[in-house]
Symmetry: C2
Subunit: 145 residues, 2 copies
DNA sequence: TTAAACTATACTAAATAGATAGACTAAATA
DNA sequence: TATTTAGTCTATCTATTTAGTATAGTTTAA
C-alpha cells in the first residue's frame, strides 16, 4: 500500500504544480485545501525540499513552490522517496537490491521473474505519470462528467 | 512489499505443485528444503487449508497436498489471502474498497486514475501466474543457463 | 518588533510483521 | 492398545513502521 506520506506528497505537489510560477504557497493553505494534517505536511514538504523538488521562502509571505517543471516530476520518484522501492520484492529493485535469504537460485527463480514483470509494468505507468500529466488527467475526467 | 507470509506461501505451494498427485508432504520437509521457519510455515499452511487450496492428513505419514489443480491457483489469490488488496490505494480495490478520507472527488481524482491503471496491469500479470506457469517459467530459466 | 512561516528534532500511540510456544487431536504402527 | 508422529489451534512476544503531535527554535516581511 501507498503510505499516507507518499499520498500527501503527491497531492501537495499537484497543488503546487497547478500554481507553478505563482510564487510561494503557505503550508497551512495546502493543508486546509487538501485535508492534510498541517504538522504532518510540514515534514513532508521539508523532505521534498531536501531532495530538490520544491523550494521555500521563510517568514511572512513565505511558503513552498515547485522548482522542477511539472512535466519533469513523476510519481515513481515521489514514491521512492517516501516509501522506498516500487518493486514488491527486494531482489528485483535497482536501487535497494537485496537477495532473498531463502532463495536457492536467483537466476532460475520464477517468483523473481514474475515480480520483475510486475515492477516493470508499474514503473512504466508511474514514470509516465508526471505532475503535468496528472493535471491533464484530472481535466479530462472533469470534462467527462 | 510482499510479506514473508505471502512469499513463503507461494514457495510452499510451488513445492507442492511440483509433487502434485504424490500424496502428503510433511511441513518439516518443505520447511527444510525451502529454508522457511517450520513453525511459521505451519500457520501459513493452516490458512491455505482453511481457504481450500490445500488439504492435509494428520499423524504418521501425514502432511499437506494441493487439492486445486496447479493451473487453477494463481499468485493474485495467494497474495490477497495473506496481504489483502493488490491495489496500492484502497479506493481502487474491488473487495476491500474504502474511500480516501482526504479525497475531494473520487470521480475526477487523477491519483485514483493512475493507481487503477497500476492495479489493472499488476492483476493481469498475477492472474496469469498460476502455479503450473511458475513451474514452466523455472524450467525455461534453467534451460537458458 | 512582531507575527507568520519554515526548520529541526524528538516523542508517542497504534498497527503490523515475523516469528515462537505450547497444549491438543488424530492416525499409523509396533 | 500404547506410543510416536505430525497436523491443529490459540496465544503471545518483540521489533519495526506508520501516522501524527509536541516543542523549541530561526527567518523574514510588513
Amino acid at each position: 500500500m501507498l503510505s499516507k506520506k507518499s499520498k500527501y506528497a503527491i497531492i501537495a505537489l499537484i497543488h503546487l504544480a497547478k500554481r507553478y510560477g505563482d510564487g510561494p504557497i503557505m503550508i497551512g493553505r495546502i493543508a486546509e485545501d487538501e485535508n492534510i494534517p498541517k504538522k504532518f505536511l510540514e515534514g513532508i514538504l521539508y523532505e521534498l525540499k531536501n531532495s530538490g523538488i520544491v523550494n521555500s521562502h521563510r517568514g511572512r509571505s513565505g511558503g513552498y513552490y515547485l522548482i522542477k517543471k511539472p512535466q519533469e516530476v513523476y510519481l515513481a520518484q515521489i514514491m521512492r522517496l517516501f516509501d522506498g522501492p516500487i518493486a514488491l520484492i527486494p531482489c528485483v529493485t535497482y536501487q535497494y537490491y537485496e537477495p532473498c535469504p531463502e532463495c536457492k537460485d536467483e537466476k532460475t527463480c520464477s517468483i523473481r521473474h514474475v515480480f520483475k514483470e510486475v515492477r516493470d509494468a508499474t514503473v512504466e505507468i508511474l514514470k509516465k505519470a508526471t505532475l503535468a500529466e496528472m493535471i491533464r488527467i484530472e481535466e479530462k475526467l472533469i470534462k467527462q462528467l
